[in-house]
Symmetry: C2
Subunit: 137 residues, 2 copies
């Protein structure tokens, strides 16, 4: 008996630490940064393990992933519903944007052109009020 109900297999110290860290803030963060943060607080965890854990969490839908223009992946523990992200390109502060309408729009467009099995990627990048104020003066 015991465990499961969280997508991950065995209940290891490392995975606990990664998921715990993800719960702490609502910024999108990279695997490498999460790794650094864990090491900085004395948690001995390998980078490979962080990558693997995030991969599993992403597959099971427990975290959301976005890709920066540079190609690196950022991870975040989000709320349950379908949504898009409005992300500050400087500090990664994120606002969830409920966007069911976009899904419907995409499905309709795809059907019109005979495409099936549609997946859409919609992310909004901008500069948040704080970051804009900083660079402003």
């Amino acid at each position: 008996m015991a465990e499961e109900a969280h997508g991950l297999g065995r209940h290891t110290r490392q995975r606990q630490q990664v998921t715990a860290l993800l719960e702490e803030t609502d910024e999108f963060r990279s695997a490498q940064r999460l790794h650094e943060m864990l090491r900085a607080r004395g948690v001995p965890v390998g980078l490979t393990t962080v990558y693997r854990t995030l991969q599993i969490l992403a597959e099971t839908g427990e975290v959301d992933v976005i890709r920066l223009p540079s190609g690196e992946h950022l991870y975040r523990r989000c709320s349950a519903g379908r949504h898009h992200h409005l992300v500050c390109r400087h500090c990664a502060r994120t606002v969830e944007i409920p966007g069911p309408g976009v899904d419907q729009w995409a499905g309709r467009i795809a059907l019109q052109h005979g495409y099936v099995d549609i997946a859409q990627t919609l992310e909004l990048f901008g500069t948040c009020a704080d970051c804009a104020a900083q660079s402003g003066t």
Copy 2:
């Protein structure tokens, strides 16, 4: 006198060949594939040059770029207006989707949350009718 009015600087054989190849079809293609195609038809051009040329064309807006989930970039000569892309994930066949409404929607959302200087990425990936028929039987 002469040249210019096409974003590129000097008028070299290689750049002519790359732009000419881009005019030929309306699929999105990777830098490496474009390079292979040029070599295959006997045009001696280096991969680095293809990358650089595409970079310039992308910056000046003469070609559109999308990024596959794998991270590789695909390039295409598109029509002028603002649009999104409906791309077949198997054969890269592409339909342009005029979508001014999405811009406005994004701008409105961003403003609501105090974000400025917004950039949005919206692409639709699906399976086109032909590819669906093939895999279907």
